[in-house]
Symmetry: C2
C-alpha cells in the first residue's frame, strides 16, 4: 500500500479556479486566499499521511474491544487523537465564541475528506462530535452551549447521536425509549439504543450523547419525540465532571468494516437528560445533525474511493503483466505495466472521473451550506436541501462501486486482507447504509425535496444547467460537455415530469422510480461539475495560468465522464417510465 | 438467518418444462425423468439445508488455521465432508468406469448450485477436485486414470490447480516454476505457487496437485508450459500411499471471505511430478479445467446471490417498518412489513429476476456442455465456448451486486457480521476475481470468442434470438418480452459490428468496450432465457398444467427483468461507441 497523498492541487483548483471562494460574498470567504488555503491543506495532508493513514490497516486488524464496560480503541488511536486535537483540527470550522477557529464549512469539508481517506474509522470520533456540536449550537440554551461546546470543540469531550433501537431504524415513530420529567426540569431517560458510533471509547474525558426519546404528552408516532443531552459524566456547575450518569455500553458490534470505530449498544437506565430544543420537536432538532451528517457520509463515500483509487493506480503502474497490444511499452522488462491495458484504464478512469466529480459536487455543496448559514440565503438553503440526498445516496453508492473496482485491479491480491484493498470495500460499504439507507435518501429526494418550496430548488438547478449551456455553446471545445449535459438534464426533467403526471394517480409510480431518479440526478450534477471544471481548465490554458498538464488531464478526464458515464441517465429514465405496476404486481407469496 | 431452502420447483421447471431434458437426444438424458430428478434434487436440497448450510457462518467465523504444516478446517467440516462423500454426491456426474454415477453434467450443476448456496467455501474442496478429475480424465494415460480417478471420484483424495505465482497471474508466460526431467520419465518440480485453493487441509488422505511448470525445450512464454500431476503422497503400484512428496504449504492467506476454504502458498522443492497430457502443451490441458472452472465460478456468482436473496426476502417479510403509502397492509401491527414498500420490491425483484435468469442460463449452458461432450456436437461446443466468459463474468458481477443489494435490505443489521448478510458479500466477491478476473473474461469474449470459427457461434446465437421472436410474435402476451429482446439483440449486433469496423484500425477500439460488451451480452442472453421461461409458463397456464401461482409469478418476474433490466444494453452500446481514444488519451502521468 503506497502512502496516502492528499489531493491538494485538485482541491486548490476547485476552491480558487472553479468556485472562486475568496471572491464570494459570504462572511469569512474573503480570507480564503489561495496561499492561506494551501497552507491549511498542506498541513492537513501531512496529518492525514503521517498520523492517520499509518493507523488505518492496524486499526482495522485490531478493532475495538469491550473490557469490563470500557471500550479500548486500537493501539495508537489515543495518541493520534491527542495530536489532532492539539494542533486544532477539531476546532477548524467551529464557532470562535466556543474556542473554534471560525473557518467556513468548506474548509472543514476539504480537511475532512483527507482525514476520511486516510482513516475513516478514526475520523468518525471527531465527525460525530462535530454533528452533536452543531445540534447543540443550533438548539441549545446559552447555558447548555457554555457547558458543552468548548469541550466538544476541542474534542476533550466527544459526541454521539442516538436514534436507532433494535426494532426501529427508519421508522422512528416506533421508538420505545422514554423520558420522564423530573421536578428540577431534567428528565430520566430509559431505553436501549443500538448502532451508536463512538458510544463508548477511551479517547475522551466525557461523552455527550444526544438521545431521541418520547416524553409524555406528545402524541403518537414521531410527534412525541424530543431530543435530550445525556452526558456520560454529569457536569458540575463549575464545569468539572461529576457523577457517572445512568448510561452504559451493553455490547459492541462485530462489523464488516470500520473496525476502529466502536459501534455500541447503549443502555439508558434512568439516565439524567436535559431537553435540547423544544419539547416534542426533537425530530426537527435531530435533522440539524442529520443533514450535516448526510453530507459528511456522502463525503465518506468518495473519500474512501479516493484512497482506493490511489492504491489501485500505484498497483496498476507497478505490476507487470501482459503486453500492450499496440506495441510494448516496456521492452526491457518481462512485461508491461497493467496501466497500458484499455480495460484497466477504463476502470481507473471511472474511478478518477467519479472521485474528482464527487469532490467538486461536495465542495460546491459546502459553499451552499456556508451561504445558507452565513448569508441566510434561502435559495442556497433550498438547493443544498435538494442536493443532500443525492450527495449522500449517489456518492456512497458510486464510491462503494469504485472501491470494488479498485480492488479488482489488484486481482487475487486485492482479496487478501493484508494488502489493504479489501478494507476500503468493507469500510466504504457502511456509507450506503447509515444516516438513512440509500433507499430512504431516494424517497427523501422524490417524496419531499422535489416538490419542496413549490419546486423552486429543482427549477433553479435546471435553470443553472440551461444557463451554463447557453453561456458556453459558442465555445466548440465545450461541445463534448454541453451535449451530454443537455441530454442528461432533459432526462432528469422527463423523470420529474413523469412523477408529476403519474405519481398523483398512484404514488407507487413515483416511489418505484425514486432510486433511479437519485442516480440520474447524481450523474447529471456530476456532469455539470465536469462541464464547469472543463470550462475553468480551458480558461486556465487560454490564459497560460496553472499547470498545463494538470489542466489538460482535467479536460480529458471530464471528456471520459461525459462520454462514458453520463449516458447512464437514459437507462434510468427508461426504468422510471415503466412505472409502479411492474414493481407492485407480484403477489407477496410469489417472491 | 432463515434456513436455506433449495429451489427444487424452479429447477424442475427449468429441467422439464423449459429445457425438456428427458426428450433431448443426448446420451443419458432419457433417464432424466421428472420423478427421478425430483428425487435427486430433494435429497440434495436436504444435504444443503441440513449438513452444509449450518456450517456456513461458523466456518466463516472460525476459518482455517495452519499449525505445524497442517491446515485445520473449521469444526464440523470433516464430518460433513464424510457425509457428502458417503452418500455419493461427489461421484454424481463422474465416469462409471472410475466409480462415478455417470449422470450428466446438468445434474451436477443443479446439485452444485445448492451446495454453493448453502456453503460456498465448503463446496470448493469438492469442486476443485472435480476440475482436476476432469483434466486427468481428458488428458491422462490409462495408468494415470486408474491410479488417481477412483479416489478423486470418491473424494478420498482431493485435487487442486496450480497456476498463479507471486509475480504472475494472468500472464502465465512469466512463470518461473521449473520441471526437470528424470531418467525414470518423471520430473522434479521446483517453484512457488500462490492462491492455491484447498492446497492443504485435513479432509482427505491425499491431495493431487495439478501444476503448471516449464520443462526444458519448450521456448519462451506460455509455449514452454507443461502440466504435471504432483501428489502430496506418492502412490505405490498397489494404490497404497507411499512417501511424502516434496511439496508443502508455506502459509495460508487471510482473505476477505471464503474463510472456510484454505488458500495456500505451496512450495514445490524438487517434488516428483508426472507429465499430464503432452509436453509443452500444458496450457491446453489446463484449459479443460479452466473452462469447467469458469462455468462453476459463474454458478457461484448466482448461487451466493440466491442464498442472499432468500435471507433478505425473509427479512423483508418479517421486519416491520413504515406504512404502505397506498393504505396499511398490517393494521393490527405497529407498522407494515418492509416488502410493502416499492423500493424494497424493486430491490427484491432485481435479485429474483437475476437469480432465476442466471439459473436458466447456467442450466442451458450445462445442456450444451453435455451435448458437446456426449454427442460430440461442434455447434454446442462453439456456443458454450462463446457463453463461458459471459457466464463467468456477467453472473459473478451481477451476483455480487445482488448480494450487496440483499445486504442493503437489512439496513444496519446487514453490516453486522453475526447476521450473515455480510458474508454473502464477502464470499461472493472472490468469484469476480479468480479463474480469470472479469476483465480477462471480457477480453476472452471480444478478443477470441466473437471471431472464433468465423463468427459461427455468435451468428448462431443471433439466429436463435431471431427465430424465437419470429415463432412467437403471433402471441400478444409475449410482446413485453419480444420487444425488449429484439432491441437488446440489436444492440449486441451493433456492438459487434462496431468492433469489426473499428477494431481492425486500432484494437483499442474493441478492447476499451470489451467489458461493456460482456455485460450487454449477459443481459441479452438473460432476456432470451426470460422470454423462453415466459413462453413455457404461458403454455403451462393454457394447458392447465403446473401450479398457476408459480407460473404467473414467473411471467411477472420476467416482465420486470425485460422492462427494468434489459434497457441497460442501450447504455453499454453507447459507451462502446465512444471508442478507444477516450480511454487511451490520458497520459499515464496525469492519472
Amino acid at each position: 500500500m503506497p502512502p496516502y497523498n492528499a489531493p491538494v492541487q485538485d482541491m486548490q483548483f476547485l476552491l480558487h479556479d472553479v468556485l472562486g471562494v475568496s471572491g464570494q460574498d459570504i462572511a469569512g470567504y474573503r480570507d480564503l486566499e489561495a496561499s492561506f488555503t494551501a497552507a491549511v491543506l498542506e498541513e492537513a495532508g501531512k496529518v492525514a499521511r503521517d498520523i492517520l493513514a499509518p493507523l488505518n490497516a492496524s486499526g482495522d486488524r485490531e478493532g475495538c474491544r469491550l473490557e469490563n464496560g470500557v471500550v479500548r480503541t486500537p493501539a495508537g488511536f489515543k495518541a493520534a487523537f491527542e495530536a489532532v486535537k492539539q494542533s486544532g483540527w477539531t476546532a477548524l470550522d467551529c464557532d470562535p465564541d466556543y474556542g473554534g477557529q471560525g473557518l467556513p464549512y468548506i474548509m472543514g469539508t476539504a480537511v475532512g475528506e483527507m482525514f476520511v481517506s486516510a482513516n475513516m474509522a478514526f475520523n468518525m470520533y471527531q465527525g460525530l462530535t462535530h454533528g452533536a456540536y452543531s445540534a447543540i449550537h443550533a438548539h441549545g440554551t446559552s447555558a447548555q452551549k457554555a457547558t458543552y461546546l468548548p469541550k466538544m470543540v476541542s474534542c476533550d469531550w466527544t459526541g454521539t447521536m442516538n436514534l436507532t433501537e433494535p426494532h426501529c431504524g427508519t421508522d422512528l415513530g416506533l421508538m420505545r425509549t422514554r423520558a420522564e420529567p423530573q421536578t428540577d426540569g431534567s428528565y430520566k431517560i430509559t431505553g436501549t439504543k443500538i448502532f451508536i458510533s463512538a458510544g463508548e471509547h477511551d479517547l475522551a474525558e466525557n461523552i455527550i450523547h444526544l438521545v431521541l426519546a418520547k416524553a409524555p404528552g406528545g402524541g403518537e408516532g414521531t410527534k412525541g419525540i424530543s431530543l435530550f443531552i445525556v452526558p456520560k459524566f454529569l457536569v458540575n456547575d463549575d464545569g468539572s465532571l461529576g457523577a457517572r450518569n445512568g448510561v452504559a455500553v451493553g455490547s459492541i458490534e462485530n462489523k464488516m468494516g470500520i473496525h476502529g470505530n466502536a459501534t455500541c449498544l447503549m443502555n439508558y437506565d434512568g439516565a439524567t437528560g436535559y431537553l435540547l430544543g423544544e419539547l416534542h420537536k426533537g425530530m426537527r432538532a435531530m435533522f440539524t445533525m442529520m443533514n450535516e451528517a448526510r453530507i459528511g457520509v456522502g463525503l465518506q463515500g468518495y473519500a474512501v474511493a479516493e484512497a482506493a483509487y490511489q492504491a489501485s493506480l500505484a498497483y496498476a503502474k507497478d505490476r507487470l503483466q501482459g503486453r500492450d497490444v499496440t506495441g510494448t511499452k516496456n521492452p526491457s522488462g518481462p512485461a508491461d505495466a497493467l496501466i497500458v491495458h484499455p480495460d484497466i484504464r477504463r476502470n481507473l478512469l471511472e474511478q478518477k472521473s467519479f472521485v474528482e466529480g464527487a469532490r467538486a459536487l461536495t465542495f460546491w455543496g459546502a459553499t451552499l451550506i456556508d451561504r445558507a448559514a452565513r448569508s441566510k440565503d434561502a435559495s442556497a438553503e433550498g438547493l443544498i436541501s435538494l442536493l443532500t440526498p443525492v450527495i449522500k445516496g449517489f456518492l456512497t453508492d458510486k464510491g462503494f462501486e469504485m472501491a470494488v473496482q479498485a480492488q479488482q485491479i489488484w486481482g487475487g491480491h486485492g482479496y487478501i486482507e493484508d494488502n489493504g484493498a479489501a478494507q476500503f470495500v468493507r469500510d466504504g460499504r457502511i456509507a450506503q447504509i447509515y444516516e438513512g439507507a440509500n433507499g430512504i435518501q431516494a424517497l427523501d429526494l422524490v417524496g419531499r425535496k422535489l416538490a419542496a418550496d413549490g419546486g423552486k430548488p429543482i427549477m433553479a438547478l435546471f435553470e443553472m444547467v440551461k444557463g451554463f449551456i447557453k453561456d458556453n455553446e459558442g465555445d466548440a471545445r465545450m461541445a463534448p460537455f454541453l451535449g451530454p449535459l443537455k441530454a442528461a438534464s432533459k432526462d432528469v426533467q422527463a423523470g420529474a415530469m413523469y412523477f408529476m403526471e403519474h405519481g398523483l394517480k398512484n404514488p407507487n409510480n413515483a416511489l418505484a422510480g425514486a432510486y433511479d431518479f437519485m442516480h440520474m440526478m447524481g450523474h447529471t450534477v456530476l456532469g455539470l461539475m465536469w462541464a464547469r471544471m472543463a470550462k475553468t481548465a480551458y480558461a486556465g490554458l487560454d490564459a497560460g495560468t496553472g499547470e498545463a498538464a494538470f489542466l489538460n488531464g482535467k479536460i480529458i478526464t471530464g471528456q471520459f465522464y461525459m462520454a462514458r458515464c453520463l449516458p447512464a441517465t437514459a437507462v434510468h429514465l427508461a426504468r422510471i417510465k415503466t412505472g409502479g405496476d411492474v414493481v407492485m404486481s407480484l403477489p407477496e407469496a410469489a417472491f
